[in-house]
């Protein structure tokens, strides 16, 4: 008999992970990441001066990984909410594929490497701003705002609006009006986009105890807020044209797209009957993604064409 009686010690069962690479990729929120990469690319292309392609690639990669890190940390902290919402119940943590601690470690590692790499290889202003973006999303939005106030996505939207600014700072080492305009466009786009989602997922949010606007203030107040923020968005998105920052092609595109967005927001405001309301909010939600993508794509194409035209001519 040994000195220690093994039968007297109850060791906890060891959990061996079966998580696949795909589960970790899902933690990065790839769809959100794709929009982050795209808006950051626009910020990078719009920035004055020449950026070496390797440095441009490095900047985009770091911003993308930083966004992924934010997503992983967000999922680590919201496993309980995700488990009760149908939209998110399939995520790796509620499914038991990855533990909260594993997701935290993964997110922290990616956050550290993305910030340090951007700082060392590109510049520390951009690295610092990326660190602030991750901090804002994880601490300010996820930990402090999301479960406390209906203004969660309004204030938290700042984190999602920063990638083009980080890219601009990576390219120039400084900041100016143009990236601030890009920031404002995404910032004012966020409330109508997420409140449209929250309107047709309000049961989900209510079950999870997340105080989204439709849960706290009701659908009618949300519809009004969507309309008001859409009006603000259309004005702010078009403003860079008369102010002389962006070209007329952008201006006309933003007005046409803005008219579409406004028409759908008015439709959401007017349709109160359940099935019609659901259809209207889903349409607005889908169009809002197209709206932001098309607006930034216009800026991208316009800038690239302007850069190439003298060579072509």
């Amino acid at each position: 008999m040994s000195v220690v009686d093994h039968s007297a010690i109850e060791l906890p069962a060891v959990r061996i992970s079966e998580a696949d690479v795909g589960d970790y990729i899902a933690l990065l929120k790839p769809r959100v990441m794709s929009l982050v990469i795209f808006t950051a690319l626009v910020g990078l292309v719009l920035a004055p001066g020449h950026v070496h392609p390797v440095l441009a690639f490095t900047s985009l990669l770091c911003i993308a990984v930083g966004a992924g890190a934010s997503g992983a940390l967000n999922m680590a902290l919201e496993g309980d909410i995700d488990a009760v919402m149908t939209r998110t119940a399939n995520r790796p943590i509620p499914r038991g594929r990855i533990t909260k601690a594993e997701a935290m470690a993964f997110g922290m590692t990616l956050a550290f490497f993305s910030v340090m790499t951007l700082g060392i290889l590109v510049n520390w202003y951009a690295g610092g701003l990326l660190a602030f973006t991750i901090f804002f999303y994880v601490v300010i939005y996820t930990l402090l705002l999301k479960r406390r106030t209906a203004q969660n996505i309004v204030i938290g939207g700042a984190a999602g609006s920063l990638p083009p600014v980080v890219a601009w700072v990576a390219a120039t080492g400084s900041i100016s009006i143009e990236p601030v305009l890009l920031f404002l466009i995404i910032f004012f786009w966020t409330p109508p986009h997420f409140w449209a989602l929250a309107l047709f997922r309000s049961d989900d949010y209510a079950r999870a105890g997340v105080p989204m606007l439709p849960v706290v203030a009701g659908p009618d107040a949300t519809r009004l807020q969507i309309l008001l923020y859409t009006i603000l968005l259309v004005v702010i998105a078009a403003a860079p044209w008369p102010l002389g920052y962006f070209d007329w092609i952008y201006g006309v595109t933003s007005l046409v797209l803005g008219a579409g967005m406004l028409a759908l927001a008015v439709n959401v405001y007017r349709r109160r009957e359940r099935s019609q309301s659901l259809r209207a909010t889903r349409k607005l939600f889908a169009f809002s993604i197209l709206y932001l993508f098309a607006l930034f794509a216009t800026l991208l194409i316009e800038t690239v064409v302007r850069a190439v035209m003298p060579v072509v001519g």
Partner: protein, 55 residues
């Protein structure tokens, strides 16, 4: 006292656990490889000015 004991088996991983661990290891190796290539490429791009940058 000189009884011969079988070496302890410890935790034996299942086939699925081994497979997923291997795939995760490969992904980590690839990520580290990308990081090394990235640092090397930027060093080439910046040349002697690699340590001379804003801030």
């Amino acid at each position: 006292m000189d009884e011969k004991r079988e070496p302890e088996q410890g935790i034996v991983l299942t086939e699925a656990q081994l497979r997923s661990r291997r795939r995760r290891s490969i992904a980590i190796a690839l990520a580290l490889g990308v990081l090394v290539v990235l640092f090397f490429a930027v060093t080439l791009v910046r040349g002697p000015a690699v340590l001379n940058r804003p801030f």
